[in-house]
Subunit: 277 residues, 4 copies
C-alpha cells in the first residue's frame, strides 16, 4: 500500500517538476517587444528549461501552486505512514519500533519511554507543508496576471517548503531502513481476545453451510461480545455455543483461526504493485 | 472604518496574549506528582505568567491556535487596507500614493512606473499568516493531549508568524504616516461620467416628488446609461431629458450634485469611532 | 483539562457573537446620505443588534471571519476530545467506550468490532470547519471594502459551518452523557509492564537519597528496558537489581507504585477549574 | 496566456480523474480473504474502473486529495481570469464588460452601476474550493489507513466541491462567450499619460544610440515624472527636452509610440500555444 502510494507521489512530483521547469525572456508584458523569441529559446536551453509558451511579466503562478500542492500531498502521505508507525509503536501494540540506540536517553522524566519521536516529528512537519500550499494557491490570482505580491510569499515558502520536504523524505527513508519489526508481537495481537479478528471468516463459513446471514451474524456477534461482557475469549465462547455446534464441529471452528487464509493472494498483490519479477 | 477595524484587531491580540500568557510546572502528566501547585504559582509569578488551571504534559494548544488565528486575522485586515491603497494608487485613479523619493528608481524596465510596492508586499505577507494559522489549528488535537508533534510546527511558525506580523505592522504604520493623499484627484473622480455617483440622490428626489420608484428608476437609469452608449455625461443627459424636466427644474437637478450632502453626518460617525473629544 | 478548554471555547464564541451582532442602515457608501444615524440606531435596537460604528456598503468582514475562526477552533477542541476517546476505546486500551446498544449491529463484516463511530465522525467534521475558516479569512480583503465576492462564500459556509458545528456540539454532549467509563481497565493499564509509569517517582526517590541524577537515571532505565529486552516486568526487575537494593529496601521500592501519589493535588486542580464549592 | 493555463488545468483534471477511477473488492483488510482478485477485476471492468493495486479496507485517500487539489487549482485559475475581468471592467478602464441586457436592472440603489457580478461571484466560489482542498488533505492520514473519519468530510465536500466547480466552469464559459470587448478603450488607455507605456522602448533606443543606461534612464524618468508633477504628458515632455533632442529627432521620438512594435511576435506566440494551423 505504501509503495503504491509513493509511486503516485513520485508521479506527482515529476509532473510538478515538468510544470515548473519553464522560464521566460519575453519582456515586461510578454510581447517579446525588445528581444525575439529565439533569444528566449536559446537562454532556456542553456538553463535546462522550456520556454513558457505564453507569459506576461512573469511565469504564471498556477505552475508554482502545482509544485506546492504536490509537496503538500506527498508530505501528507508521509504523515499517513508516520501515523501508522506511531500506532504500531504504542506500548500495548508494539509491532514496530523506531531505532533506539542502547546508549540513547529516553524522556528526561520517564526513562522507560520509547516515543516514536521521528514519526511525531514527521506528522508535525506535514502540517507546515499544508499551510504553505494554502499560501501558494492564493498567489495565483495576481492583479493583471503580474503584480508582485507573490514575491514575498515565494521567498519564504520556496526555501521553507522544499527544505522541510527534503528533510522529511530523508528522515522517512532513514526511519524505514532502520525500523525494528516484531513479527511475534503481530502474531500475539492477532490472537488477542481469542482471535476475534477471524469473526468474518466464521460468518462466511456459516453462510456457506446454509444459515441465513442474519442468523449467522447473531451467533458470531454474541460470542464476540462475550469478551466485553464476561471476559470470555472468542474461540472459547464459540466452542461452548450449543447452537453453533449443531452446524460446525470444534475442528471446523478451529480451522477458521489460521492466518494463512489471509495470505493466499499476497503474490498477486505484490505482482500488481511491483510487477512480475 | 480602518480605525474601527484595528480596534477590533487590538482587542483580538490582547485577548490572545492573555490566553497564551500561562505556563505550567505540573509534572509529566499534569498531576503535580513531584512538586505542589504552590511551586508552579511562584514560578509563574516570576515569569509574569498565570498558571494554566489544568494541564497535561503540556499547555493545551488551543491557546496557541488562538494566537495564530488572531495574527492571521489582523494581518488579513492589513491586507484589506493594502488592497485599498493598491486600488487608489492605480494610474487611472491615483487618489493616494505610497512615498516615492525623487531619487528613487522605479521599475528597471519602465522608469515611469510607480508601483504600490509596500502594499503589494503586505498583501503577500498576509497569505503567509493565513497558512501558518492552518498549521496551528492542526496542532490542537494532540494524541493523549500531549504528543510532541506540535513542536516541529511551532519552532517554525512561532518565529515566522510573529516576525512577519511585526514587520507588517511596522511597514503598514510607516506607510500610513507617509502616504500621499490627493484630494483634487478624489474630486475629479467623483465628477467622472458627469457625476453619475449622484444617481441615487436623484432617484430619491424623484420619489419625494411623487413618482413611483420604478418610474424614477427608469428615468435615472436611461440617463446614466447614455454615457456608456453615447458618451454623453450624466448631468448633461439629465438636463436634456424632457420627461424629467416636467418634475424637476434644471436648478433642482444641479442641486443633486453637491458632495456636502454625503458629509452631513461625518461628525456623528467620528464620534462613534473615536468617542467624544 | 476539557472543561477548562471549553470555558475558553465559550468565551471565544461569546466574543464572536458580540462582534457579529451589528448591522447598518448607513446607505450605499456608509455616509448616511439618505437616512440619518438615528434611523439606523432605531432599526438595530428592534433587531437586537448594535449599529456598526463605521461602515461602507457592508459590515466589514473581519467580523464574520472572527465567527468562523471561533467555530473552527472550538470544533478543533472537540476533535481533540474525540481523538482522546478514540485512543481510549482501542481494543487494547478500552478505558472508555461510546454507547453501544445490545441490539445494535457492529461492522457488517466484523460483528465483534465496536468502533468509536461518533468520535470518528466528530474528527472528520472538524476538518470541514477548518476549511470554512480558510474561505472566511479570504473574504476580508474586499475590493474597496465592499465588493460582493463574499456573498457566494457566505451563502454556503454560513449555513454549513453553523449547522455542522451545532451538530457537533450536540453529538459531543450526547456522547459525553452516555460514555461508558471502565476504571478497572484504567487500573490494569497503569499496572502494565510492571507499573513502569512509576519510573519517574523512583528516579526522584533515588535523587533524594543522594544519588546523582545521571546514576539514578541509568539504574531506572536499565530496569525499565528489561521489559523490552527480556520481557521482565519493571517492578520485578527493580527488586532484583543489586545496586538499587543497596540504596532502597524492597518495601521502599514497593511504596513507589501507589497511584494515590498522583491524586494528592486533585482538589487544588478542581478548585482552579471549577471554583470553590 | 489563459488558453495555455487552461491546457494545464485540463491535464490536471484528466490526471486526477485517472487517479480516482479505481475501486476495490478486496475485503475488510485488503487481503482478498473471501473473494479472489479476479472478482475485483471483473467488477471494476463492469464499472469502468481499474482495481486499486493494493488496498486496505478503503481506497487510499491521497487519490481523493489529488482530485480536490486539482479542482481547487483550476478554480483558482478561473479566479485569476475573473480578477482580470473585474479590473478591465472598472469604470475608469472599461476594456471589457460582462453582458448586460438593456432591460436588466443594475444596483437597486445606483442605477448607473454595471458591476462585474459574474466575475465577483467566481472570485468568491474559488475560495470555497480552496477550503475544501484543505479538508481533503487532512483526510489522507487515516488511522491504520482506514478509519472512517473521512466519510463525514467526503459526504459534504464531494458534492459541494464538484457542484461548485461545475457551476464555475459553465459560468466562466458563458461569460467568455458573451463578454463585450472594447478595443477603442484599449487604444485610449494605451495612450494615457501621453503614451508613457512606451518608456522602455525609448530607453532602449537611447541605449542603441550610445548613451549609457543610467543616463538614458534619467532622461526618460524625468519626462515620465512630469505628468505626476506638472501634468505634462510624456510625449509632449520628451519633445521639449533639449538634452534628448541632441540625440533623437522629434520624428525618432514619435516613432517610439507605435503599438505594432509590440505585435511583431504575436504569430510565434499563437503558434506555441495553439500549434501550427
Amino acid at each position: 500500500v505504501w509503495f503504491d502510494e509513493l509511486k503516485r507521489g513520485r508521479r506527482r512530483l515529476e509532473q510538478a517538476r515538468a510544470t515548473i521547469a519553464v522560464g521566460k525572456v519575453s519582456g515586461a508584458v510578454g510581447t517579446f517587444a525588445h528581444l525575439p523569441p529565439a533569444v528566449e529559446e536559446h537562454a532556456m536551453k542553456l538553463l535546462g528549461l522550456a520556454p513558457a509558451p505564453a507569459s506576461t511579466q512573469v511565469v504564471q503562478r498556477d505552475r508554482h501552486a502545482e509544485v506546492f500542492q504536490a509537496i503538500a500531498l506527498v508530505g501528507t502521505s508521509i504523515e499517513k505512514f508516520a501515523t501508522e508507525i506511531r500506532h504500531l509503536q504504542r506500548t500495548e501494540v508494539r509491532e514496530v519500533e523506531e531505532p533506539f540506540t542502547s546508549g540513547q536517553k529516553g524522556s528526561s522524566a520517564m526513562p522507560h519511554k520509547r516515543n516514536p519521536i521521528l514519526s511525531e516529528n514527521l506528522t508535525g512537519l506535514a502540517r507546515l507543508l499544508r499551510g504553505y500550499a494554502v499560501a501558494a494557491l492564493e498567489d495565483v490570482p495576481l492583479w493583471h496576471e503580474r503584480d508582485i505580491s507573490h514575491s514575498s510569499v515565494e521567498r519564504v515558502i520556496g526555501p521553507d517548503a522544499t527544505v522541510v520536504f527534503d528533510f522529511m523524505l530523508h528522515r522517512f527513508a532513514g526511519l524505514m531502513e532502520s525500523l525494528r519489526v516484531y513479527p511475534e508481537n503481530m502474531a500475539k495481537n492477532l490472537a488477542l481476545l481469542g482471535g476475534v479478528v477471524n469473526s468474518q471468516r466464521l460468518l462466511l463459513e456459516l453462510a456457506k453451510r446454509g444459515l441465513d446471514r442474519q442468523a449467522a451474524y447473531v451467533i458470531v456477534q454474541r460470542n464476540a461480545m462475550k469478551f466485553y461482557e464476561e471476559n470470555t475469549d472468542f474461540k472459547t465462547a464459540l466452542l461452548g455455543d450449543a447452537e453453533l455446534l449443531k452446524v460446525m464441529t470444534p475442528k471446523d471452528i478451529e480451522a477458521c483461526f489460521t492466518p494463512d487464509y489471509h495470505l493466499r493472494h499476497i503474490d498477486a498483490i505484490f505482482e500488481r504493485v511491483f510487477g512480475r519479477s
